[in-house]
Amino acid sequence: MSTINPAQHLGAHEHGDAHAHGGHHEIGFVKKYIFSTDHKIIGIQFLFTTLLMLFLGGALALGVRWQLAFPWREMPIVGKLIFADQGGAIPPEFYTMLFTMHATVMIFLVIIPVLAGAFGNFLIPLQIGADDMAFPVLNMLSYWFMWPAVFFFVGSFFVEGGAAAAGWTSYPTLSANMSAAPASGLGQTMWLMGVTFVGFSSMLGSVNYMTTIINMRAPGMTLFRMPMTIWGMFITAILQAFALPVLTAAGFMLLFERTLGMSFFTPGGLVINNAPATTGGGQVLLWQHLFWFYSHPAVYIMILPAMGMVSDMISCFSRKPLFGYRPMVYSISAIAGLGFIVWGHHMFTSGMNPALGMTFMVSTIMIALPSAVKTFNWLGTLWGGNIQFTVPMLNSIGFVSMFVVGGLSGIFMAAVPVDIHIHDTYYIVAHFHYVLFGATLFGVFGAIHFWFPKMFGRMMSEKVGKVHFFLSFIAFNCTFFPMHMLGVAGFPRRLADPYHYPYLSHLMPLNQFITYSAILMGFAQFLLVGNFIYSIFKGKKVGRNPWNANSLEWTAPSPPGHGNFESVPVVYRGPYEFASPLVSEDFLLQTTYLPHEDRRAPQPAAH
């Protein structure tokens, strides 16, 4: 490892000061807070938007839960308002819209943008020591391209026939044919437009992140001195750049099929809903392959950044270096690489060649390996630490615990024969909620509390944060754990009223329990938002480094001004030197220069 001598360091200081000075000029309110090109403002814009969308998606989910617990019964409060024609009950075609749009909103407007958009934007320049993103205008556009998508998704509820109802996977021919369902007209077209815009937004972001991370790291910030958060964001950006074009292309194919009469996915001779027979020689399975070629890597897009952030938080609150930094980096990369060759496991019962089932099973089961390595390394990080149970730490521990559940339940579905029974049942629903909600969203809750002081210069209330964590954690597990049992019992997804099947009729009480837990979980989120908004104005003011963490963002003011750092930071070591014997405090900033460090440092393990 190279050491930068102090003279250079001072030089960088002077240069940086001059730069920061030159950067100070007044900009108007609109330019500063709305059409801003400052990565921090854009990140916070993303954060506000996704929190808002979280409540929209949650409300849709509660609609689904109401129907499953009390089918065809009047919905409290909103029932009479929305479904006056049906006596306040959810009609079945609206039920199909509810789960379709719940997934769409949660995936495309909450999880992907909150990770890459909010935290990616906010943290990447700060953690690598850059003054902004490589392409600030592209960055602004990436936020504003999300709004047309919001418009299309939300607006589609108000067009004739309603919002898309073919599931978030939009399998043809249900999604391709205009007469297949009441919502197969404009609603489905608007859904495709919305997905295209979200894709555009992600693509602008990912190009920007890759360029920034490769080109704009501070002096001394080698790749293997980057915090895990940056590694997660970096790998995610690569995944998006390579996988997303496939979905965009497939989306256009489906759009052309619907509007221009082309035929990619619809075979000839189908009579759908008594419409004239279809013509053309398309293949239904083609869409599934194209869709999952993006959407399986998207699953990792939805968790790798959270893994990175959780690694940072666990190391910080164990007051101990991250265990196995390099294996962590390698396993993230391995997950991303393998992530490209496992998409077929969504199609085990689809009728594709059975030989493919076998190969996809092996690759899918092997992807559990890097996930296991990561889990063991998190445990290794905790071991021997001085653990502090702050709100970010509690959420991170929750992340690890529930990621283990989600990972292990994945093995059942990866095993093709077992998947035959549990495919398209609530087992799948349990599994991906454990990964996406239990892991990712709890990671995000932790990250919000952790970086809030950097965003607003104030702390969020620890007390409210703890109540929010425990309520959410208990309600989450009561909601999703029983779904494993439902799945084993053969309870299919997406049925508006499963109880008229004799073998499912006894499961209604369990579903009612799940619904009560889901309602509790939904309302617990008001604690988060209340705490968040209150703390922006009234939280306790803090200095630069309230958590005594090491990485670069904690050397900048809270909140950092335009241009982030007063001087270009110079990096001397990795971000996890907690409890270092070189200093008396239990943390050691990446920028702290120690004379003769090389001579006195104990030889760290090579990985």
Binding site: A180, P327, L379, P417
Partner: protein, 258 residues
Amino acid sequence: MVASIAAVAAFVVAPSMGWWFPTPGYSLSPLGAQIDDLFYLILAITGVTFIGVHVALVYILWKFGSGKGERGVFTHGSHTLEVVWSIVPAGILLFIALYQMDVWARYRVKSNFDAEALAHPIAEVTARQFEWRIRYPAPGKTLQDTPQFDDLYTVNDLHAPTGRPVVIRLKSEDVLHSFYLPQLRVKQDAVPGLAIPVWFQCDKVGEWDLVCAELCGWGHYKMRGQLTAQRDAEFQKYLQDLQKSQFDDGVPLAKAAE
């Protein structure tokens, strides 16, 4: 910790609460029984892992989270540990993957199907919004790819003989559906444009559920069918009765065909 104990407890009580495999709790088909065995095998492996990891997690949190504020151990990792916890899970996972191959091959690879059953499918099942249309060949005849004048038709009511493997041809007329027999652990999507042979063997006489498991539109939830498994002789009699009810107008069938 409480949560993980509750999780294990939930699995223990689940079968007695009916939150488990559909009644009668075991698979009615021999291949399905093998699927259940694989399920229990994976459940055992993952269960042990789940308990192990959580015991470790709780112990670590208890031991190192006491709030005494001792300085953390300054270590960046251990090469030996990394190797151990890479190779051990890799071996277990590879074992799980390879161990599944045989059942999958018997379930889906056509050359492993029972030749007799494959040559004489009992019926063609065509899914459409929102019903199952079933076409049987006339008694004593073989199912043809195209409908024949003496074929027999029912809706949502599939009959099959017990005790031997049977094959159906699965088609879809409009959108994707999925042919799901929960008690037999059989699931296969019905794909527009494809005719997929599906085999199963039901060893227990009775009426079992036939469910659509792939979203097929607003009425997906009500696309309910039924599998009636009966002894071979009764199945043949059922077909003859069906033939009678569909064709018998007093004129013998052979004459009508002329």
